[in-house]
């Protein structure tokens, strides 16, 4: 099976990553968001959710969507090492997606956070879930983070009081574009976790079931007038 041998050479080495346990967050609107690790079978719905945002320059949705699209595709086709995807879904409809990567023992690399449903801090909750996975479940001590949008910078660098390692380690650059790299350390995480990270576990079976088959949103506040399939 030459193709398999070739494919094996093309795939990055993969570590056995601990799973991220699903949780339930009641948003300020009262809506219940199931937060769970995405499965490869979800890739179609995830890609279909991200795709329409490729043309939205406001708040840098275009670049985040483009990069997240490639990250999800790379994850689905085994072209990124140790990537994981976490999704937030309300009644099964995708409200936000985060991507990230385990680099090596003790070190994680946050990739992207894409908020579909805005105004309820969905992105903030999913970013916190991503950090929770890195540090609490994968046992990492540091997560490297960059921001591409001012909103991202305000949410992560400022609100988490992340450490700017640019001056300390001039050679250390996040793999996304080489922009200045900030770091969430275990110590910082423990300090902010009580006010940033929430969720009820286990998720009641009937609610978890609603997020089993992910649904692409029909409309986006980022795309006024746009309707899926129209």
């Amino acid at each position: 099976m030459a193709i398999d041998a070739l494919e094996a050479k093309l795939r990055p080495p993969a570590d056995e990553l601990a799973p991220y346990p699903s949780k339930l967050i009641t948003l300020a609107s009262g809506e219940q968001m199931v937060v769970r690790e995405a499965r490869l079978a979800d890739a179609g719905a995830l890609l279909g959710t991200v795709y329409p945002l490729l043309g939205v320059p406001k708040d840098y949705y275009d670049i985040v969507a483009a990069r997240m699209y490639s990250e999800i595709l790379g994850w689905f086709r085994y072209r990124v090492a140790n990537e994981f995807v976490i999704v937030g879904a309300i009644d099964g409809v995708i409200a936000g997606i985060v991507t990230s990567r385990h680099v090596k023992a003790g070190l994680g690399m946050s990739l992207h956070t894409l908020t579909i449903k805005r105004g309820l801090r969905v992105g903030a909750q999913l970013f916190a879930a991503k950090m929770e996975h890195h540090i609490d479940y994968l046992g990492e001590n540091e997560v490297h983070i960059v921001a591409e949008s001012p909103i991202g910078f305000k949410r992560w660098m400022i609100e988490y009081e992340l450490e700017d390692r640019s001056a300390m380690y001039p050679d250390l650059r996040h793999e996304l574009g080489g922009v200045p790299t900030f770091t969430l350390t275990r110590k910082l995480w423990e300090a902010v976790k009580p006010v940033k990270c929430t969720g009820v576990r286990p998720v009641p079976a009937e609610l978890l079931k609603t997020a089993d088959k992910l649904i692409m949103p029909d409309e986006y506040v980022q795309l006024p007038g746009w309707k899926r399939g129209a």
């Binding site: 967050i25 948003l27 909750q125 001012p150 400022i158 006010v195 929430t198």
Partner: protein
């Protein structure tokens, strides 16, 4: 005052994030909207005076002479134009000065346009800029910010009168419910008391900003603008405006000590009470005549305190009125039908004008379905500058 002065045009943009736009364009949007509402853009040439409300363009946008810029942007030369700065009460102060310009006989038509673009800086920097309104030596240099101040204020009120954090959340739920129906609101999402106060995730979903103030006790940082056109109802120019004016029945301002420490009781907002008393007297009405009120609620504690100072509730009892749903639309005295600063947003310099636009919409019967107060006669707006040290109260009447 014998002059009859009314509002014949209103304009408003949706509050939110306009940081991609130039401040002057943002203000011009609402000003043009007001002219369209008043009868057409050609009416720009009838304006005798332009007053622009803005608090901190010099700091937020590195821009000064905003009034001059607006005149050129709107092709309104050689109309006189000035900027009015009174902290977050800049908008209402501009309306008051517009009223005075007409009452003095120096103008018959005044455009008051106000706006702020704040989201060009981080939330922390915006908080810092807004904090410059505090007393420099005694407050700002000590690290006090407005949320910090309001947090202490809220704690004092809770200890004195028995209000709980849940009571604060009830105000937020009411304001968000109204804001969700307002096309101009920054935050158009209703929130539930279970999610922001009672539920297991409430501590994170509604996190502390300055304990006991939480995120949903605090206004968002917003960009936006609003505008009104004032007319001397007895002048020949009034006939150029087809819409029936909504009359400014009373408008008054009052001040209090700049340094809050110098007040006998920090929970007593003398400037609100005195400005309201003067406005009531000018209008010939009292608290029981008011059909609805827009009360400055940068922090929800202010909505409660203001509602006591203007006479809607006894001191220390306003939160009980909220519990009894008296301040909801359909209640005894609907407060912040627009969503208030809490949900509609608070682009500081624009807020006072925005409050008055909401009153005009309500008095005309033009508010959205589910948000319209039934048959209102008088509307009141309280716009709060500084930490209650420079307040403007406006009472509008539907004749």
């Amino acid at each position: 005052m014998s002059a009859r002065i009314g509002i014949v045009g209103i304009g408003h943009c949706r509050f939110g994030n306009s940081s991609e736009y130039d401040l002057v364009d943002v203000i011009a949007y609402s000003a043009n909207d007001a002219f369209r509402d008043a009868g057409g853009l050609h009416l720009r040439k009838e304006v005798d005076q332009v007053l622009v409300g803005n608090m901190a363009a010099g700091m937020f946008n590195h821009q000064t002479s905003v009034a001059s810029a607006l005149i050129s942007r709107m092709d309104m030369e050689p109309c006189p134009a000035e900027l009015v700065e009174n902290g977050p009460a800049s908008g209402a102060s501009a309306i008051r000065l517009g009223y005075m310009a007409i009452a003095s006989g120096m103008a018959d038509v005044v455009l008051v346009a106000a706006g702020e673009v704040m989201r060009v800086v981080s939330g922390w920097e915006a908080t810092n800029i807004v904090a410059t309104m505090a007393h420099t030596e005694a407050e700002y240099n000590m690290g006090l910010t407005l949320p910090g101040f309001a947090g202490m204020f809220t704690r004092l009120y809770m200890e004195k009168y028995g209000m709980t954090e849940r009571d604060l959340a009830l105000v937020a739920v009411k304001d968000h419910d109204n804001g969700a129906k307002n096309i101009y609101s920054h935050v158009q999402l209703p929130v539930t008391i279970e999610a922001i106060a009672d539920g297991e995730n409430a501590n994170v979903v509604n996190n502390y900003v300055a304990e006991p103030l939480r995120m949903y006790s605090t206004c968002p940082i917003s960009d936006g603008s609003a505008a009104v056109i004032l007319v001397n109802m007895d002048s020949p120019k009034a006939k150029l405006f087809p819409k029936k004016p909504i009359r400014i029945a009373g408008i008054a301002s009052a001040t209090d000590t700049h340094c809050v420490h110098n007040r006998k009781d920090p929970l007593v907002l003398d400037a609100v009470r005195i400005s309201a008393e003067k406005a009531y007297k000018m209008a010939g009405v009292g608290p029981k005549d008011i059909s609805l009120a827009e009360l400055h609620d940068a922090f929800v504690i202010f909505e409660l305190l203001n509602s006591e100072e203007v006479g809607f509730f006894e001191r220390g009892k306003s939160f009980l009125g909220v519990r009894n749903r008296e301040t909801e639309i359909g209640g005894r005295i609907p407060i912040n039908t627009s969503g208030g600063l809490k949900a509609k947003g608070h682009p500081v310099g624009a807020t006072g004008v925005s409050q008055v636009v909401e009153l005009v919409r309500q008095l005309r019967g033009e508010a959205e379905e589910g948000r319209q107060v039934k048959d209102p006669k008088y509307g009141m707006a309280v716009n709060f500058g500084g930490f209650g040290n420079n307040v403007v109260t406006t009472i509008l009447a539907k004749d």
